[in-house]
């Protein structure tokens, strides 16, 4: 049904569906969205300029704090980029420890997201169960690194802490349990009619659009496109570990949920394999203080998708230029496309579907004269 005229509905910067401030202006015809205008920049923190003013070692802490959820992905990408500038080879054991932390982080980020998706659909019980499991993963990470959120386990040239045999058995034991739990939640998600009604055929992103609009990560894989930095351009030890790139042909919110659930199972297997095949030896090598002029790019598959860091050194102990491209920026254009034709009640679910992390993404602030 069309009413001929459209109404403008503002969404954000403060809204219960958005955990971070960002603004979207919807033009709505009846109950259907016809146009979306995003306005980014509310959480611009000047990260890139700050990178240029501190030493490489200080920047490690800054990189870790770009995102509150995929902090390890950012610090891995940072260390990788800086080690590429030197260039510096890190010990194989450190590579495995970084990888295990990265996969643990993927587990916690994905269980957080599936919980949020259930919450957006009004399914609070599943949200509570998933977040209970997530809490246990955070405890594991705390045991390994000493911190729950900003793990600070990476350092330039390796990692700060080793994983003991005792910890390894504990992690493996928990991974078995967690895998069972995730399979059970998947069974609930696949059969629960109210959830299916809210997520199936909602927020369709066709494979062609997904590529054209530069979607990344689980959003892209849920549109049936096999793309994963871990497999396409193996970093850390991903080249040595067998794993599947999960895809789904649904192109809707349901597909995004299932892709993330299956990725959790895959990550649990990667962790178990990595713990079994972890080489012995040193965990770090000393890095140089200054770095000769060079350029380097680091790519990491963060839980939300491809994360790119770029650095240029100039012979001092500070980078000359540093650039961070967070996965949410890649997904933003696609989500705006996906929202067209959606019901107003589905907006939160579709927006949450890309697992947005706006404060990692904001690099600009647009100011108008007189405002």
């Amino acid at each position: 049904m069309s009413y001929g005229t459209t109404i403008k509905v503002p969404f954000g910067p403060q809204h219960p569906a958005l955990k971070e401030p960002e603004y979207f202006l919807f033009e709505v015809d009846g109950d259907i969205v016809v146009k979306v205008t995003p306005r980014i920049g509310y959480v611009h923190r000047g990260v890139e300029k700050a990178f240029e003013q501190e030493t490489y070692l200080h920047n490690l802490y800054l990189a870790e704090r770009i995102c509150g959820i995929c902090s390890h992905a950012h610090s891995t990408c940072y260390t990788q980029t800086v080690e590429g500038l030197v260039p510096l080879e890190i010990p194989p054991r450190a590579v495995y420890i970084r990888l295990i932390m990265a996969e643990l982080e993927r587990l916690h980020s994905h269980s957080l997201w599936v919980g949020i998706a259930a919450h957006e659909a009004g399914f609070d019980t599943l949200f509570m169960y998933l977040w209970r499991d997530r809490e246990m993963i955070m405890d594991l990470m705390e045991e390994i690194s000493g911190n729950r959120v900003t793990h600070a386990i990476n350092t330039i040239g390796g990692v700060r802490r080793d994983i003991t045999g005792e910890q390894a058995t504990k992690i493996k034991k928990f991974m078995d349990k967690f895998e069972g739990n995730v399979k059970e939640y998947m069974k609930v998600l696949e059969t629960e009619q109210t959830f299916l009604k809210r997520t199936k055929d909602v927020g369709i992103l066709k494979p062609r659009d997904a590529i054209a609009l530069c979607a990344v990560g689980p959003t892209l894989r849920a549109s049936g496109i096999k793309s994963d930095v871990r497999a396409d351009d193996p970093y850390l030890a991903y080249g040595e570990i067998p794993f599947n790139v999960i895809t789904h042909d649904g192109c809707d919110i349901y597909a995004r949920t299932i892709v993330r659930c299956e990725e959790m199972i895959e990550s649990a297997n990667i962790i178990k394999y990595a713990l079994d095949h972890m080489p012995e030896g040193k965990i770090k090598v000393p890095p140089p203080r200054t770095i000769a002029p060079n350029e380097s790019v680091g790519r990491v598959e963060a839980p939300r998708g491809e994360l790119i860091h770029y650095a240029r050194s100039n012979g001092t102990n500070k980078p000359e230029r540093y650039k961070v491209r967070a996965p949410t920026l890649g997904n933003l254009a696609s989500v705006c496309q996906t929202l067209i034709g959606a019901h107003v009640a589905d907006i939160p679910l579709i927006l949450a579907g890309i697992d947005p992390c706006f404060s990692c993404m904001d690099r600009v602030i647009i100011t108008k004269k007189g405002e």
């Binding site: 509905v9 809204h15 219960p16 569906a17 109950d31 259930a118 919450h119 957006e120 659909a121 009004g122 399914f123 609070d124 019980t125 509570m128 169960y129 209970r132 629960e192 109210t194 959830f195 009604k197 809210r198 019901h343 107003v344 009640a345 589905d346 907006i347 939160p348």
Partner: protein, 317 residues
């Protein structure tokens, strides 16, 4: 005689009992809901947090009173009181102690009228507060009423046809006299009344008018302080109303059993209904408003018509 009636209205089985039940039921609901979700629920106020609803109520009463600039002030102030009073009036006709405070032939119709008025007051509450979220919430609640009201009314009529009475007390007595519950006689009606009450109480999967992640708190968004406290109290009373209504219509009401007083029997039965409601609300996701309306009209209404036909044919009553 007058003293006795005043005691009846204000203490037992009137307001004091009902407010007590309201807070108790909110606690049972919260605690059970939390346990289903693997949480602990209220814990600190009183033994196992039993006083938490009272504490929340008192806390809200003491909060700052904020009235939005652009709201319809008279309606905005009156509606919370109306909203808390309506379920209380409805509870007066429900035979909680075996006989109701007010009982007359046709009080079922009175009850349906009150339940429609509750939704109307929700609509006015949202509309008068003039916020965009409140407006969407109030429109959604009105739409929701249009879809559940008719199956709900028919579900109340089913037992009335069988018991040849439009009085709740008499329907409850009929079940006691024939020692059969309408739950077994008219199971479809029981299911329908439970589903419609979930919609009336705005609980998952029908919490569409106050969908937290979509429209903040829906029609309640602009309310705070003592107005919100009254709405919360009204909601608790509605919960008592819904569960005691189902208990007396479909579960045999306050039947005397051995030496146990009838009022206790009814409370136990209605707690069972309450647990059923909280369990259902833990199991589902929220529907979209269009899915809810079409679902109600395509499934619930025909089902209820079938039930009434069965009753007319002499099956189940």
């Amino acid at each position: 005689m007058v003293l006795h009636e005043i005691f009846g209205v204000f203490v037992y089985p009137g307001m004091a009992l009902l407010f007590g039940l309201a807070f108790l039921y909110e606690w049972i609901d919260r605690k059970f809901f939390a346990r289903v979700q693997n949480r602990i629920g209220p814990l600190y106020t009183g033994p196992s947090g039993i006083l938490q609803p009272v504490a929340d109520f008192l806390k809200l009463l003491s909060k700052e009173d904020i009235v939005p600039e652009s709201c319809e002030k008279p309606i905005f102030s009156v509606i919370p009181i109306v909203y808390a009073t309506l379920p209380l009036i409805a509870l007066f006709v429900i035979p909680i102690t075996g006989s109701a405070l007010i009982s007359f032939e046709g009080d079922i119709i009175f009850l349906m009228f009150i339940s429609a008025l509750i939704t109307l007051s929700v609509f006015l509450a949202g509309w008068s507060s003039a916020g965009s979220f409140s407006r969407i919430g109030s429109i959604r609640s009105a739409l929701q009423m249009l879809s559940y009201e008719i199956p709900f009314g028919l579900a109340l009529i089913g037992p009335a046809i069988s018991a040849h009475s439009l009085s709740l007390t008499k329907i409850a007595q009929w079940q006691a006299a024939n020692s059969s519950w309408f739950l077994w006689l008219q199971p479809i009606g029981f299911a329908v009344v439970l589903i419609s009450l979930l919609a009336e109480l705005e609980l998952v999967p029908f919490d569409i008018p106050e969908a937290e992640t979509e429209i903040v708190a829906g029609w309640l968004t602009e309310y705070g302080g003592r107005r919100l406290a009254l709405f919360r109290l009204g909601k608790d009373l509605e919960l008592v109303m819904a569960s005691t209504l189902v208990a007396s219509l479909y579960l045999g009401g306050a039947q005397p059993l051995f030496f146990i007083p009838p009022v206790l029997i009814l409370i136990i039965k209605s707690v069972v209904v309450l647990l059923l409601i909280s369990f259902v609300r833990a199991l589902f996701a929220r529907f979209r408003i269009d899915q809810m309306t079409s679902g109600m009209w395509t499934y619930l209404l025909p089902l209820m018509i079938v039930q009434i036909l069965l009753v007319q044919l002499g099956i189940g009553g």
